[in-house]
């Protein structure tokens, strides 16, 4: 069997596994966010928080919960890193510098997991486990809560209430993320991922002498890192590191983990709005883009254009032997079409066009299938836009799921859509115009520009992967990327929740012969088209200067 066929078979196996999990997990999550029964553990947690989980919140209150929880999260994580030098259980590692600590705190709270630090030499056990990994859980749970609030906006009528933030967030952790993580961590352990608190290991070598490596809670972190579409590795090499991703099977398993919640949430959406076929239409849109991108990526990586790859005879730079080019391509696309940003191979050493595909994946807004929660709400915003475009074409007030998309709704959706491109393009242009940021580039020419474009794209879309040649541990990049992550996460959430509130207040309009059938393939086609065209128009000039220039020259 050749590597291309093996790559395609791995893709098919992945699709089969995701299909098997789709209904049970999607239905389970719909139940989690719909029931009014609390687990005993959850009651203790609510008591600890001092919140009434049954109190309905209107959108401003829901938003205040999100923001307060995230502000506290950033401050806590910042302090934890600043105090590392005096914390026990930190291997004697020094405290993290202020600009890097801010960047990292913003990064993990926003579900980005951009890392301007080298994991193995910077973060001790306590910061890693009680700081960073905790945000892996809760930032994902916040994303899911906001998505569920938007779904309730469609499902409910003549009420302003979107549910209770504390209950949604806690349940996301206790009933979805934690059980899945325990299972996944045990699977990873059985395959060879490490999990110990025994500090620095000094181990003999074949040729004599010794080597030192850092232990840590790797399997438990790796599990939630993928399931919560976070992506921040314990080691600098992330999921390319054999301790995080030891075998070809764990590699495929990790891709499955990072896709399973975002895809299954479309089922949750369908169930909660009372029409699973609406969920299938959204699923079909996501799956079309994902499969298309994987196919393109495999094509360009197996073709390996580019001087160094042509001399080598393959695009294996930055890729591990055990995964190969095929599975690495699937991982690269899946991590950039979700908000994960974990990598099992290094995107900067992909072919010019391959690197462009990873960037374009993020620029779509990470909606195919996107991050845990953020993928679904991002895609529903695009659906609102697509319905609006269709409405313009036939001259009719657009509706989606029985709700009118009026002036207020379309303004909120448009604002959502404008935030990330504005952040990416303005910050990239500023960095290029200034003198010093360019010193951080490893490569020159088109690829050097791509390093900076990639960094701001990754941060603003809360992805976290990198063209890692860029030395991002400078005050300029630590602060601007930190700000991009915060604005790219929370400004869109404001518009999502405002939209949810506005939809929930409406009374539903009855379906008539003139209603656009949003559960049909025609709508899926319209939606895919709208996504590609809007993203293409926004980013084409920037892409032409970077990856396209590099890819076409090769």
């Amino acid at each position: 069997m050749g590597p291309v066929l093996a790559g395609v078979l791995q893709l098919l196996a992945l699709i089969a596994a995701l299909a098997l999990a789709y209904r049970p997990l999607g239905d389970h999550m719909a139940g989690v966010y719909s029931t009014d029964r609390h687990w005993r553990v959850e009651k203790w947690l609510y008591k600890g928080i001092g919140a009434n989980p049954d109190a309905g919140m209107r959108w401003p209150a829901y938003l205040r919960g999100v923001l307060a929880f995230s502000v506290v999260g950033v401050l806590f994580l910042y302090l934890l890193q600043r105090l590392q030098g005096v914390l026990p259980g930190s291997l004697g590692f020094a405290s993290v510098d202020p600009d890097q600590a801010f960047n990292t705190a913003a990064s993990f709270v926003t579900n980005t997991n951009w890392q301007s630090y080298y994991g193995e030499q910077t973060m001790g056990h306590v910061v890693q486990v009680a700081g960073l990994a905790v945000q892996n859980f809760v930032s994902a749970a916040v994303g899911m809560a906001v998505a569920v609030a938007l779904v309730r906006g469609f499902a409910r009528s003549r009420t302003g209430e979107l549910g209770n933030f504390w209950a949604d967030m806690v349940r996301g952790v206790t009933r979805v993320l934690l059980p899945l993580s325990v299972i996944a961590a045990v699977v990873l352990l059985a395959c060879g991922a490490i999990q110990n608190f025994s500090g620095i290991h000094e181990v003999g070598q074949f040729m004599g002498g010794s080597q030192q490596w850092n232990g840590g809670a790797v399997a438990s972190t790796e599990a939630i890192k993928e399931i919560g579409t976070n992506g921040g590795g314990v080691f600098n090499a992330n999921s390319a590191h054999p301790f995080e991703n030891p075998t070809p099977f764990t590699n495929l398993f990790e891709i499955f983990l990072l896709l399973v919640i975002p895809f299954s949430l479309t089922r949750t959406f369908g169930v909660m709005v009372g029409n699973v076929r609406q969920g299938y239409a959204i699923l079909a849109t996501m799956a079309t883009i994902w499969v298309g991108f994987v196919a393109l990526m495999m094509w360009t990586e197996f073709a390996h254009h580019g001087p160094a790859f042509e001399i080598a005879g393959g695009a294996t730079e930055g890729k591990e032997v055990r995964f190969g080019v095929g599975a690495s391509s699937i991982f690269a696309v899946s991590t950039t079409l979700t908000s994960t940003g974990a990598v099992d191979s290094f995107h900067s050493s992909y072919t010019g066009l391959g690197g462009g595909i990873t960037m374009l994946g993020m620029m779509l807004g990470e909606i195919a299938p996107g991050g845990t929660g953020s993928g679904l709400y991002g895609m529903l915003i695009m659906a609102v836009i697509a319905v609006f475009i269709a409405g313009l074409m036939v001259g009719r007030t657009p509706e989606y799921l029985g709700k009118k998309i009026g002036i207020r709704e379309i303004k909120l959706a448009a604002c959502y859509l404008l935030i990330t491109p504005a952040l990416v393009l303005v910050l990239t242009a500023t960095a290029m115009a200034l003198h010093t940021p360019g010193h951080s580039m490893t490569n020159s020419g088109a690829h050097g520009f791509s390093e900076i474009l990639y960094a701001y794209t990754s941060a603003s879309n809360n992805n976290g992967s990198a063209f890692a040649g860029l030395n991002a541990d400078t005050p300029w990049f630590n602060s601007t990327l930190g700000i991009a992550m915060l604005l790219g996460r929370f400004l869109p959430m404001i518009f999502v929740l405002a939209l949810a509130g506005s939809l929930a207040e409406q009374r539903p309009v009855p379906v008539t012969a003139g209603t656009l059938r949003t559960e049909k393939p025609l709508f899926t086609g319209l939606l895919v088209g709208a996504i590609l065209i809007i993203t293409g128009l926004t980013y084409f000039p920037a892409l032409a200067l970077g990856p396209l220039a590099e890819g076409l020259a090769a």
Binding site: V182, G192, F206, L252, A312, G313, F323, S345
Partner: protein
């Protein structure tokens, strides 16, 4: 005004308490439970899959090593010890720049693009070296036979594996240097070649450390 300040304070208090209770659950209980399972059921793997040869730990089966001669005076990079099978280049690997009381391996890739001049030079040099080192009397390696993994650095810099093709072209050299027959070394490579998982997951591979340990035993026994 006072009212909104106290409301904000109350909200932030609730947020802080939420963070603390969830830290207890996901940042203390969860990792400790997983560590408990790990140390009880998979302690060898959970501590780094260390392997021993002659009663001494010689590394981890998951972490690639270099098989070089000791650094000579005036040399900046050591020469490979051609007695042993060689792994992939590791140009992206580093050593720690902070907390330098330790000498930690810093995993990583080169992050060079396909048109990067330095990468082109590395690949060319590596290819020439593979051809030169492995061509021995009666066996000549052609440049077109050198597989891509032999001349490119991995993502982690710690790739424990090489492709079976790269192991294959090293057989004659290793046999000659160790005074073994090529057939015996070839059989050793075959025995240490792992195919795709279930026939289609990943790529076929040879673990270099395990192969060299077996080679050392073979040399000692012959």
């Amino acid at each position: 005004m006072n009212n909104s300040v106290s409301n904000t304070a109350r909200l932030l208090g609730a947020a802080l308490r939420a963070l603390l209770v969830l830290t207890l659950v996901t940042g203390v209980l969860y990792p400790l439970a997983v560590t408990g399972v790990a140390q009880a059921l998979f302690s060898g793997k959970a501590n780094g899959s260390e392997i021993e040869a002659d009663g001494e730990v010689v590394g981890s089966s998951l972490i690639g090593q270099s098989y070089d001669l000791p650094l000579k005076k005036g040399q900046e990079t050591p020469e490979p010890d051609l007695k042993w099978f060689q792994g992939r280049p590791r140009n992206g690997l580093g050593t720690n720049s902070v907390n330098t009381r330790y000498k930690l391996i810093l995993s990583g890739a080169t992050n060079r693009s396909g048109d990067n001049a330095e990468l082109i030079r590395w690949v060319k040099d590596a290819k020439a070296a593979v051809v030169k080192d492995n061509s021995v009397t009666g066996y000549t390696v052609r440049a077109s036979e050198v597989p891509a993994d032999a001349v490119t650095s991995s993502g982690s810099g710690l790739d424990p594996d090489i492709s079976p093709q790269y192991a294959e072209i090293q057989v004659h050299r290793v046999a000659e240097r160790n005074g073994l027959s090529a057939t015996r070394v070839e059989k050793l490579v075959k025995d240490h070649t792992e195919g795709r998982t279930l026939g289609f997951i990943g790529e076929p591979r040879v673990n270099v450390l395990e192969l060299n340990i077996a080679l050392r035993e073979l040399v000692a026994g012959s």
